[in-house]
């Protein structure tokens, strides 16, 4: 019995030691699996941003952009985030949407701002998109859903690059992340808002609005959108016992200005 346990301990030690030792080697780099190097990522970020600037109208209203910036700065300062890591842009587009691009660009459609009822709700959306950026969800989504080959052809330029860029933008702007990533970003946003003295229960209101928008766009037999209902439920639970002293985010004039900035 003693001999068996001695052998077992030595075997486990050898296995664990070998595993730990080999883990210290940069296999990802040696095997060339880190094809999306920083240089490639930077090029992709630039190409996607150029494509957005060509296809979308970015609102240049100074006051609206200052209002957005002040919301972003407040979230950053309260959460020790680098404010230069994210650039928030207001886009003149009636579609109710907001999404993040590689490089920390967050695009918020004017259609969404007009649908929301308060700056706190917009802060919830902003926090959610910032969480996607901070938690590196964009790269995960691109690698998984778009595929490394398309990413490389987009970054490589040439005739195929245009189509690849369109494909990437379509994936980033029109489809949701995995449920687990959406939940992670929602809960991170709750934390950001709470730290910044913004009531995170505003995010429940956002889900309700999105749910009613989705329902109105779908045939009645499809019923409610299951992902939004699920998100609304866990957000309710996550925000129900939060007590904080709220500080106003924007005054009513600034909020109205933001809502009508792209008109």
């Amino acid at each position: 019995m003693k001999r068996f346990f001695l052998h077992l301990s030595l075997s486990l030690l050898l296995f664990g030691g070998l595993w730990f030792g080999l883990s210290q080697i940069n296999w990802i780099g040696i095997l060339g699996l880190d094809v999306l190097t920083q240089k490639t990522e930077q090029k992709l970020e630039d190409l996607l941003w150029d494509a957005i600037q060509d296809s979308e109208e970015i609102c240049s209203d100074t006051e609206a952009n200052e209002a957005l910036q002040s919301m972003w700065t407040r979230i950053c300062e309260a959460n020790q985030l680098d404010s230069s890591s994210v650039k928030v842009h207001l886009v003149n587009n009636d579609e109710i949407n907001a999404f993040a691009l590689p490089g920390g660009h967050i695009l918020i459609h004017s259609g969404l701002v007009q649908t929301l009822e308060s700056p706190e709700e917009l802060a919830g959306v902003l926090g959610h998109e910032v969480a996607h950026v901070q938690l590196n969800h964009i790269s995960k989504k691109l690698a998984k859903e778009v595929g490394v080959s398309i990413l490389l052809s987009a970054a490589g330029g040439g005739s195929a690059a245009g189509e690849a860029i369109k494909e990437i933008l379509s994936q980033l702007s029109s489809s949701a992340y995995d449920r687990s990533l959406e939940k992670e970003a929602d809960l991170k946003s709750v934390k950001y808002l709470k730290n910044a003295g913004i009531n995170p229960s505003s995010m429940v209101g956002v889900m309700e609005k999105l749910e009613s928008e989705v329902q109105s766009d779908l045939p009645s037999w499809l019923g409610s959108h299951p992902d939004l209902s699920e998100r609304k439920e866990y957000l309710k639970k996550a925000t129900e016992n939060i007590e904080l002293t709220e500080k106003p985010l924007l005054d009513s004039t600034a909020w109205e200005g933001l809502q009508t900035a792209c008109d």
Binding site: M1, R3, F4, H7, L8, S11, F15, L18, W19, F20, G21, L22, S23, Q24, I25, N26, W27, I28, L31, L33, K140, A143, K144, D178, S180, L181
Partner: protein
């Protein structure tokens, strides 16, 4: 890794053949066993159950072959689970994963080589006791009174 302790008696020809087959059994199902590691264990367990009334030499080697599958099943099942989690969830490829796969492959190759050697030597009537599994088999398998 392998030792050659003395066995209480010299096995007969039919015993060495049956004992050797226990090791061959785990090799035959290795192709199926890689994606579904439990198959290896089931096959060797089935063979052991079929031979449990055989002679001490046969039972001893059938049990050693069966026990040796336990670690390989655990290692391969963990490798399989980790691989599936990378494919199906947002878990990403890491140096720790690749290092684990390298160790798992090494262990599989080592086990494969040792199994072949043991199958050949057992067929010749040699009594080979493996590192760790030999002492455990010795504890669990006793000659019939």
């Amino acid at each position: 890794m392998i030792s050659k302790p003395a066995f209480p008696y010299r096995p007969e020809e039919y015993e060495t053949e049956k004992a050797s087959n226990a090791y061959l059994m785990s090799l035959v199902v290795v192709i199926v066993g890689l994606p579904f590691p439990i198959i290896n264990l089931i096959a060797t367990w089935g063979y052991y159950m079929g031979q449990r009334k055989s002679s001490y030499f046969v039972r001893w080697h059938c049990l050693q072959a069966l026990l040796s599958q336990i670690s390989i099943v655990l290692i391969n099942a963990f490798a399989l689970g980790w691989t599936w989690s990378i494919i199906l969830t947002d878990r990403s490829l890491s140096n720790a994963y690749l290092a684990y796969m390298a160790v798992a492959i090494l262990y599989n190759l080592l086990e494969f080589a040792v199994t072949i050697v043991t199958a050949i030597e057992t067929r010749k009537g040699q009594h080979l006791s493996w590192w760790m599994y030999g002492p455990l088999t010795h504890l669990l398998c006793k000659p019939k009174p």
